[in-house]
Symmetry: C2
Subunit: 244 residues, 2 copies
C-alpha cells in the first residue's frame, strides 16, 4: 500500500480503514446493455466516481466487489481515465468477485481483508455522490462506537399496513431510511457475516443487528442518492453541477 | 363551467369532481426570491404544469389555494402562457387565499365547493409530474371506496428509533410513503376538516383518519416527485424529457 504518501488514518491507530464497495447491478431498469454502475455521469462512469470518493480518504484500502463478468469491462473502463485517483493509488484498490447476493458479496469483500483490526465501511457502488465529510465521519464514529450507519429522515407522511390490510399513520420523525456507507469495527463485521444468511438481511445494519451488535445511526445526505433509473442519473448530474 | 366541451365525470353521476391544489411554499430552499411553485421546468412554471395535469380531466373543477401575496404574481404568470389549458377552461379554475397551515389552506379550498356531493382530490402544487392515469384512478377508487390516497413503497432499508434512543430494523414492505393526490368523498372531507387542527395532521389522510374514515391506499409513482430543491427541478426536467 502507498501508505507513506498518505496521512495517518483519521479514526486512530492500531488498525486500518477499509471500504467494501459493492456493485452488482444490471442495466435493466436503465434500458441499457451496460450494467448501471458503468454508465457515465458528467462523462465518467458512476462506479469510478464512487471509488474516487473513497480514495480521497487517507490510508484507506478499497475492496471493489464486482460480478465476475464485469471485471474485464471495469479494467477497460479505468484505462480511459488516466488521471483518475485509481491510477494514483493502484495499491489501494483490490477487485474481488461478487457472490449471488449482496450479503455474499460483502462477505467475499471482507475475506480480502487480512488486518487483525480496523474499521470497514460498506458502500453501494451506485451512490457516487457520497461526500468525503460523511465518509470520514462514519469512520470516526465507528471507531468510537463500533458502528456508524448513515441514514436520513422521511420527507413525506408515512403509513404502516396492518396484518388485516388496514393502515394507519405513523410518526415519521421516529423512522430513518438507511443509506451507505454503513461502517463497523472489523471484528464485529467478521463475526456478523459468519451468521447464516437471512431473508431479512437487506443491508449490513440488519446483519450486524442480527448478530447482536448495536447500530449507531449517523446523518447521511439527501444528495447521496442510489442511482437506479435514467432520471436518477440526470439528478446526479444536477447535484454534481450544483457543487461546481 | 365549460362542461359541454368535456366528457362525463369518470367517477359517476350525482356530483362533481374537484381538485384542491395547495401551493404555499417559499423559494428559500431554492435560493430564489420567487416562491418555488413559480419556478420554471421546461420553460413553464411548476404550478402551471400541475394545474394543467388536472385540467386534462373531464368535468373537473380546480380550486387553487395560494398565499394572498402570490395571487397577483400567479395571474401575471398565466398571461405569459396563452396556449395553456388554463385559458381554455377559465371557468374550471377558482383561486382561493391560503391559510397559515396546509390544513387551513385545504379547509379554505373546501369552503369554495358549493356542490352537495362529489369527490375531492387534494394535490401539492409542487408535484407537477402527476399523471392523468393516477388522477383518474384516484377519483374512481374514491368514488367506490370513499378514499384513495396515492403512496409508494420504501426503496431503502428502514429503521425505527425507540423511545430509549436505540433503533431496530423494520420490515419495509409494511410501510408506504404518502404522495398526492389524496382523494376523498366530499362529505367525508367536509366532516373531517371540521375537526380542530392537530399537530399530527401532516396530510389529508391523517385528517380523515382522525375523523374515523377508512384510508384506502392506491399506487402512486416514484416520478410524482415533490419539488423542493434545485436538484429536484433538474430531476423533474429529466423525467419530462424521458416522457418525450
Amino acid at each position: 500500500m502507498n501508505t507513506l504518501s498518505r496521512e495517518f488514518p483519521l479514526w486512530g491507530s492500531g488498525g486500518f480503514s477499509f471500504a467494501i464497495i459493492v456493485a452488482g447491478g444490471s442495466g435493466l431498469r436503465m434500458g441499457s446493455e451496460i450494467p448501471k454502475q458503468f454508465l457515465p455521469i458528467n462523462g465518467k462512469p458512476i462506479l469510478i466516481h464512487t471509488i474516487e470518493a473513497f480514495l480521497q480518504i487517507p490510508n484507506l484500502q478499497v475492496i471493489l466487489v464486482l460480478p465476475q463478468k464485469d471485471i474485464e469491462y471495469f479494467n477497460s473502463q479505468i484505462k480511459e481515465f488516466p488521471h483518475s485517483l485509481i491510477h494514483q493509488f493502484t495499491n489501494s484498490l483490490i477487485v474481488e468477485i461478487g457472490g449471488s447476493t449482496r450479503f455474499q458479496s460483502v462477505k467475499n469483500g471482507l475475506a480480502q481483508i487480512k488486518a487483525e483490526s480496523g474499521i470497514v465501511a460498506v458502500h453501494d457502488g451506485v451512490r457516487p455522490l457520497i461526500s468525503r465529510e460523511i465518509i470520514e465521519k462514519s469512520f470516526e464514529i465507528a471507531y468510537q462506537e463500533g458502528s456508524a450507519v448513515t441514514s436520513v429522515m422521511l420527507k413525506d407522511s408515512a403509513r404502516i399496513i396492518n396484518e388485516d390490510g388496514s393502515n394507519q399513520a405513523i410518526d415519521r420523525t421516529r423512522y430513518r431510511l438507511m443509506q451507505t456507507p454503513q461502517t463497523f469495527r472489523l471484528d464485529w463485521m467478521r463475526d456478523a457475516f459468519n451468521s447464516p444468511e437471512q431473508p431479512f438481511f437487506t443491508d449490513c445494519a440488519s446483519v450486524l443487528e442480527y448478530a447482536g451488535y448495536k447500530i449507531n445511526l449517523i446523518e447521511g445526505s439527501y444528495e447521496n442518492i442510489k442511482i437506479t433509473t435514467p432520471e436518477d442519473m440526470a439528478l446526479a448530474e444536477a447535484i454534481l453541477k450544483g457543487r461546481g
